[in-house]
Subunit: 372 residues, 2 copies
């Protein structure tokens, strides 16, 4: 069972081109420098994949500070990314704010990432940089990250391919009386064997009445015939994630369940058809929501239609009710309507799709047929 993709065949990512694009936007955001504290953003801009550190970005040079665990790794990754003008300093976590102060103090307006920096760290910086104004920025790097380059798309698609192959490989288990937990375990193991570095989020396997909870954790419940089984899972390739949900059934869905899953399938098709360059997240959400309402399941759709996917499992753009986020060409989003009926069960169908200049291309490609 070989990996589904070859790491060497993935297109290169343009890491070095990102910092200049961010620098162009600083003045418009009201700051002269930006302290990047969200690790996915640090990774995006510098290539450094460690779990802790901070990146100060400024037009006259940038500084990555991290701790001793990452001394060699950070130096190698900065060099490999070719991100020019990023210096490296290694300090303990408690000493890092002071290390940044000497560089940051040169700037009158220092941006912080308000939606991820903690209040505590903001207070610390406010006392350290008393001659600078701290500016609350929102989504500066996240908006750059929303539009993927060819290398990023390759990685997300490889993660989708891994998930497609893994579920095809293991789904027969469901007919053999396995539990939700056993199925989740084998699905994740198969993804690892096929090249995933880890599940892209906590795998959901929810059978029968458990399926009425959109985010149920796998239990020791044995999957029975005629039930719907919601399987929501993903792989990770070089930090990039996939996200897919399929609703499966051992035998034929009992009672109302066939109508339920068909309604969700129709809503998901309506959502995918609505995705194209320039549409808003709210419009795609409305397509799914309207389809489910027409089928009598409007009240049963308990969550948003989708979200961007990349280095984070939930990122921009938002595909939610009234979302004004634009789904531009090169963004990657999920379309995942569902319907949930307490005591009966639930269904959700989800693809990760790449938005194109005309329509979109699904990156997850598994059959939506619920039969095993």
């Amino acid at each position: 069972m070989p990996p589904v993709y070859s790491p060497d065949a993935l297109a290169p990512m343009d890491v070095a081109g990102r910092l200049p694009r961010l620098l162009e936007r600083l003045d418009g955001a009201g700051c002269d420098a930006l302290l990047v504290t969200k690790m996915e953003n640090v990774r995006y801009l510098s290539g450094f994949t460690g779990s802790a550190g901070m990146l100060l970005v400024s037009p006259d040079g940038s500084l990555l500070v991290t701790d001793g665990r990452y001394r060699d790794q950070a130096a190698e990754q900065l060099a490999a990314a070719g991100a020019a003008g990023i210096e490296l300093e290694v300090d303990s976590a408690t000493a890092q704010p002071d290390a940044l102060a000497s560089v940051a103090a040169r700037h009158a307006r220092l941006g912080l990432e308000a939606t991820s920096v903690t209040w505590s760290l903001q207070q610390r910086f406010a006392s350290l940089f008393e001659r600078s104004e701290l500016v609350a920025t929102r989504g500066l790097v996240e908006r750059l990250r929303a539009v993927k380059d060819a290398g990023e798309i390759d990685r997300i698609e490889a993660a989708c391919d891994v998930a497609d192959v893994a579920i095809a490989q293991v789904k027969g288990m469901l007919a053999e009386g396995c539990t939700e937990s056993q199925f989740a375990a084998e699905l994740e193991a198969e993804m690892r064997r096929r090249g995933s570095s880890g599940a892209s989020f906590e795998t959901i396997v929810a059978s029968g009445p458990n399926g009425a909870k959109p985010h149920a954790r796998p239990t020791d419940r044995v999957v029975g015939a005629g039930e719907l089984v919601v399987v929501d899972f993903g792989a990770t390739v070089d930090g990039y994630r996939s996200d897919m949900t399929r609703t499966l059934c051992v035998g034929a869905p009992a009672g109302e369940l066939a109508r339920l899953v068909d309604a969700v399938y129709a809503a998901q098709r309506a959502g995918v058809r609505a995705v194209t360059d320039g549409v808003t997240g709210g419009e795609v959400d409305a397509a799914c929501r309207g389809s489910l309402a027409d089928a009598g399941y409007g009240e049963a759709f308990l969550h948003s239609t989708g979200h961007g996917v990349g280095l984070e499992i939930h990122e921009l753009p938002a595909v939610a009710k009234d979302s004004a986020d634009i789904l531009g060409a090169g963004t990657v989003v999920t379309v995942e309507p569902g319907a949930y009926v307490a005591g009966i069960g639930g269904a959700r169908i989800e693809d990760t799709v790449l938005v194109g200049t005309s329509g979109c291309r699904p990156l997850t490609k598994s059959t939506k047929d619920y039969t095993l």
Copy 2:
């Protein structure tokens, strides 16, 4: 290959007793109510295991707000935990702060969790609760969490047992020419089969020169004979985590490596011997650091000695240089010195231990013999 533990045999946790203990501490922290935004803390206090939500804690009643995905799950988990006086409200994420405002406005001094709440959310609450003073609290719930009850210890030990059994099962693979990634994949798969709900953090398998990076990600490098292989991994049982590192070798360690791994082993024993009720994290760190310095590897120890483990993989108390945190009876910490030599390799040995009234009891029990 059955699960290593029986969920039914785990001691119950005293979830209901936690909120009263927190309420006793509010006034001392300078607040009348506390808005809990860190999800591990929400889980600890209420039993709710969802990925999003907020819990407002106050003497005259508490309120959990979460979104529609968790409507039924939250109601069931609150009831199961028996946490009296927690009401539930379901709202979209954007509407949740408003939902809290009507309750929070009754309190003059509203505590926020400064080390986890984002600056953006603090700003939002500052405008919503303009008649209340926002108080920056630090570690209020985390300090309660540091001391584990019998049910929590059972879960952490079950996660340790899973890890012990899994590595014993798969370590022979290393002698068969597998890659770091393949070994990580099979180790994680075996933990899932044995009852883990997922890796407790990103598994590290670092062989040969890669081992000189304390936090290396597994690569496609084939493990060779005579090299040290650092394997740092853990399981999760009912949200509680384990953390263990073993350094293994195919055949005998080449050159300096035998001396390196022996020095780390001696330092780890010194650290475990230093752990007892009332010792500080700094004293345990000094025991490991001194042992490695005596062996000539003082400069090669690039990180802290350890950390608390529980619902989070890194929590209180800190076992680090100069840490004044007390390791009280009932706390659970790691002891994990390491030595790293660029171009040569590295070694780390780590146990998760339960601090007792006299000494400590290792919860991870795998052999520290590096031979397979």
